[in-house]
């Protein structure tokens, strides 16, 4: 039978506030264990949480950017469960009456726009980290690092509107880009500042009701989300085809083996015993504050893309690629500022630049070629100093060495030969040494024109101005 996957995603994004959600401890990453802690975030008896206003502001930014409704009155709740990385024995989260609900994100899939609903965005605190030492002589030991405890998170829950792993990936990329455009999350999936769990079920194509779902955890990259969903679709399809039932359970993705395996079933699922946290007063949001935040929102991927198409006249595909991240969009616009030819710049970024970055698995922020330098390179082509072909070699060297284009061109003597007299002499030489081909060309084998161009280029080590070579060749032949 043909099945349709029904997918909903739960994203946990760490917010880039300076301090934690309920105390003044810094949120820095990578410090010595348990150095960024206090009585509040280690759950010392008698300590009490006080809400960090910045966390609310950042959450409201996310809510406004994703068209969510903002509740004028919302509550914090305790999610109770025992685990050593959870110092209070409960996580402060939101349950009934979250801060924001009912939003959406538009994604582009097969050049079609698709709208994915958001059920809610709520605030909560992160847990600590366990470090396991299995090598100790006294037997294995586990250690707890509370530095991450209390780092603010937003949980963003999508509606079950996603129908394929590709859509899931597109949704995640779009959501991540939005959070990064808003400067509220660094989007780093490896370090866990943008984490994703997935709920997936299958149903016969055309059916209206949902099948039994499984929850997938431990997918720490876009690729792994897609792989895990692909695997789970195959697994569930095989089970259903054999007439077996899907068991509602939580499954862990194993990236090395490329499989999901059962972590806990429905019976072992926690009863979190949510109830309103009596240590925190209800959160009341006044509409003026919302309007202030709305007014301060930066340009988001969607509107930036539309503006690029409108202002720079580039195709939708180019605009989509260039607005996948804010630094990339900025890079593009800085280049344009120095070299205002939108399509040429876009071509260079999308082909040469992104190819090199992808090869090295680098982000645009880590690009060794600053935007200004790329535009200088493009100017050299425009001025006729170098050919477009040479420029590609120059760019590769710029990327490797970090040197500027002019310096590289000078060092290699790659300046284009645009002296007509000099070129004429070279063309003469080429025609003389290839008399047979000249003969053939003149008899009508015009395809050989390219051959002559190639020979001239060879003779000049590619430095001849191609346009001038064309003109001179035509004249001489």
């Amino acid at each position: 039978m043909e099945y349709e996957p029904v997918i909903g995603l739960e994203v946990h994004a760490q917010l880039l506030t300076q301090s934690k959600i309920f105390c003044n401890c810094p949120t820095r990453f990578g410090e010595e264990p348990n150095t960024l802690t206090c009585p509040v975030c280690t759950g010392s008896p008698g300590s009490l949480p006080v809400l960090n206003k910045k966390v609310v502001e950042y959450t409201l930014r996310a809510a406004l950017a994703t068209h969510c409704r903002i509740a004028p009155y919302s509550l914090f709740a305790r999610k109770n469960y025992f685990y050593p990385d959870l110092p209070k024995g409960y996580q402060i989260s939101q349950y009934e009456l979250p801060l924001t609900e009912h939003g959406y994100i538009d994604i582009q899939i097969d050049s079609q726009k698709k709208r994915i609903g958001l059920i809610r965005i709520h605030m909560e605190e992160d847990a600590g980290k366990l470090l396991h030492d299995l090598s100790s002589e006294r037997g294995s030991h586990s250690y707890v690092d509370f530095n991450r405890t209390g780092v603010p998170l937003v949980e963003i829950v999508s509606a079950p509107d996603i129908r394929s792993p590709e859509e899931a990936s597109a949704y995640l990329r779009k959501l991540r880009a939005i959070l990064m455009f808003l400067d509220i999350c660094d989007g780093n999936m490896e370090e866990g500042s943008f984490r994703c769990d997935a709920n997936i079920s299958l149903r016969p194509k055309g059916a209206q009701t949902f099948g039994v779902k499984t929850e997938l955890k431990n997918m720490n990259s876009f690729r792994n989300v897609q792989r895990a969903l692909d695997f789970e679709i195959r697994r569930q399809t095989a089970l259903l085809d054999q007439g077996e039932k899907i068991i509602q359970e939580t499954r862990l993705w194993d990236a090395a083996k490329g499989v999901t395996s059962s972590m806990r079933g429905k019976e072992e699922a926690h009863d979190y015993r949510y109830f309103p946290d009596p240590d925190l007063v209800p959160l009341v949001i006044d509409s003026q504050w919302i309007e202030e935040i709305r007014a301060s929102l930066p340009e988001l991927p969607e509107s930036k893309k539309e503006r690029f198409m409108r202002e720079y006249g580039i195709p939708e595909y180019d605009a989509e690629v260039l607005t996948t991240s804010k630094p990339l969009a900025n890079y593009y616009e800085i280049c344009l500022h120095h070299y205002p030819k939108p399509k040429i710049v876009s071509n260079w970024i999308m082909s040469e630049l992104l190819r090199e970055l992808k090869k090295d698995e680098r982000e645009i922020e880590e690009c060794p070629v600053p935007a200004l330098h790329l535009s200088e390179l493009l100017k050299l082509i425009e001025e006729g100093t170098i050919s477009g072909k040479i420029a590609k070699s120059v760019f590769e060297e710029m990327y490797r060495s970090g040197k500027q284009a002019e310096e590289i061109v000078r060092a290699h003597g790659w300046v284009q030969v645009s002296d007509a007299a000099e070129l004429e002499i070279i063309v003469e030489q080429v025609l003389n040494t290839n008399a047979k081909e000249v003969e053939a060309y003149r008899k009508g084998k015009v395809k050989l024109f390219g051959f002559f161009v190639g020979q001239v280029m060879k003779a000049t080590q590619g430095k001849a101005n191609p346009q001038m070579v064309n003109e001179i060749l035509k004249k001489k032949l």
Partner: protein
């Protein structure tokens, strides 16, 4: 007359006039502790060295002339208020060796005021109980009759004041844990309005009900201590940002025109006849002083006990989850996996009553029961609060017994939790509504056991409590009696 027998106010006058030093006062109190503590057992931890250091500091302040009313005054602190460097056990095995790394806000305030800490007072484990018999460190005895309980859960704080083992003390009140022991021990106790005093550093039992408050030998001292600890705190989101009035201004011997509400539900079967007659006598005294009385009704208060035993254990089950052996306190020794470590730590770490309430609370919050128990209780709590709102349209304060009986015998109710819970039947509604309440001595029964009069007022109306209590005290002598120890 020994120094330890005096009030904070009297001692302050003497300290100010340099007739005595804080070291002498503190020495006197420490001597008294040495004399009677083995019989009373009001303390879990005594801090004589710290006390003498703080007394010396206080004397320097007194010399310089920048002393306040509590400078140099020896106080006892209930052992669930965090004191930096001084162990804070909550009366529990699981925190037997827990030494806080920070001071509770009230402790910071008392230190700023120059007060002297003589020890951490005994209590029912995690403030769960009405007799102080649930302490891991053994019960406290009532100074008026050593065979009897001092009330609870702040039994140590109350007994220490009654036995002159401190000049005044702090306790906490979740369902009567200040007022009921104050009544049993014949001292004054105030449970302030919820939000009046910061809970930062108060180890939580039931966060929406807990409030720190003073015990003292008379109403003036209670006002002085309340003044010192109240106020907004940006470390406690539930601490109300309301101004604190000068409470001593309410200490005027005049209640002419004040309207006293008498809830008819309070005088029913189960109320000890001697308690009833003492309360009625107190009401007559106040009427003679010019107050008017009006009968009022609190129809939902009969559900208060049930509501309380859903909400308080529910919050407690969550609040006490942090005692898991991972970070501090007791951890079972052995080679355990995680689940075993939790079980082996928490099973012996908590006493029977605490475990009973954790189970009650866990049940009330569980999926499938939440609506019927926790949510229903929260709704009825609103009705209880509304009852009070209505009555305070008719009167300034409410008068009623603090406890249905005087202090009962040790062991009398330990095997009958429900009977024990009924000790708090008159004190619990006030916590559910977040109101301020006060208990002060209003008589003795034939066996010489103290009886307490409870006064309740509307939110942030502690001045009315103090005014009624002070006027009564000025016209009675019960607060002056001392137990024969």
């Amino acid at each position: 007359m020994e120094l330890y027998q005096l009030t904070a106010y009297q001692l302050h006058e003497m300290l100010r006039r340099k007739e005595v030093t804080s070291r002498e006062v503190t020495g006197s109190v420490l001597k008294r502790i040495a004399q009677v503590e083995d019989r009373v057992h009001a303390y879990i931890t005594r801090t004589p060295d710290l006390a003498m250091e703080q007394a010396a500091l206080a004397d320097r302040r007194l010399q310089k002339g920048n002393a306040g009313p509590l400078t140099g005054i020896p106080l006892a602190i209930k052992d669930l208020i965090c004191t930096r460097g001084v162990r804070t056990t909550c009366g529990s095995h699981i925190l037997e060796n827990f030494i806080p790394t920070y001071d509770a806000t009230v402790i910071e305030k008392l230190k700023d005021a120059g007060a002297v800490l003589v020890g951490k007072a005994n209590m029912d484990e995690f403030a769960m109980g009405s007799s102080t018999e649930n302490s891991f460190f053994g019960p406290t005895r009532n100074p008026w009759d050593l065979e009897r309980i001092p009330g609870g859960s702040s039994g140590g704080s109350a007994a220490a004041v009654a036995a002159d083992e401190c000049i005044a003390s702090l306790g906490s009140d979740t369902g009567g844990s200040i007022r009921q022991p104050a009544s049993c021990c014949g001292v004054v106790g105030i449970k302030p309005t919820y939000g009046r005093v910061s809970r930062y550093g108060l180890v939580a039992f039931a966060s929406s009900l807990d409030q720190i408050g003073p015990f003292s030998k008379d109403v003036r001292d209670a006002a002085l201590l309340l003044q010192a600890i109240c106020g907004h705190d940006n470390r406690d989101s539930t601490a109300a940002d309301v101004p604190c009035p000068d409470f001593t201004k309410a200490l005027i011997d005049n209640i002419r025109g004040m309207v006293l509400g008498i809830p008819r539900e309070c005088f029913r079967e189960g109320l000890d006849p001697e308690v009833e007659s003492a309360i009625r006598e107190a009401i007559r005294t106040l009427e003679k002083l010019g107050a008017k009385t009006v009968e009022v009704s609190l129809p939902h208060s009969e559900y208060a006990l049930a509501v309380y035993y859903l909400i308080a254990p529910a919050e407690a089950s969550s609040n006490l989850a942090r005692y898991d052996g991972v970070k501090y306190g007791f951890r079972a020794k052995g080679n355990f996996d995680l689940m075993e470590m939790y079980q082996e730590t928490r099973s012996p770490g908590f006493g029977a009553e605490v475990k009973r309430r954790i189970m009650l609370g866990t049940y009330a919050l569980s999926a499938g029961y939440y609506e019927a128990y926790y949510r229903k209780a929260a709704q009825v709590r609103t009705l209880v609060r509304q009852d009070f709102e209505k009555t305070f349209n008719q009167c300034d304060v409410l008068l009623m017994p603090t406890s249905p009986t005087p202090a009962f015998k040790l062991g009398e109710k330990v095997d009958d939790p429900l009977q024990m819970y009924l000790s708090d039947i008159f004190t619990i509604p006030c916590n559910l509504a977040g109101l301020p309440g006060l208990s002060l001595p209003c008589g003795f029964n034939k066996q010489g056991l103290p009886i307490g009069l409870q006064i309740l007022a509307d939110h942030f109306q502690e001045e009315k409590l103090l005014r009624a209590a002070y006027a009564y005290e000025q016209n009675s002598e019960y607060h002056l009696r001392k137990p024969a120890l």
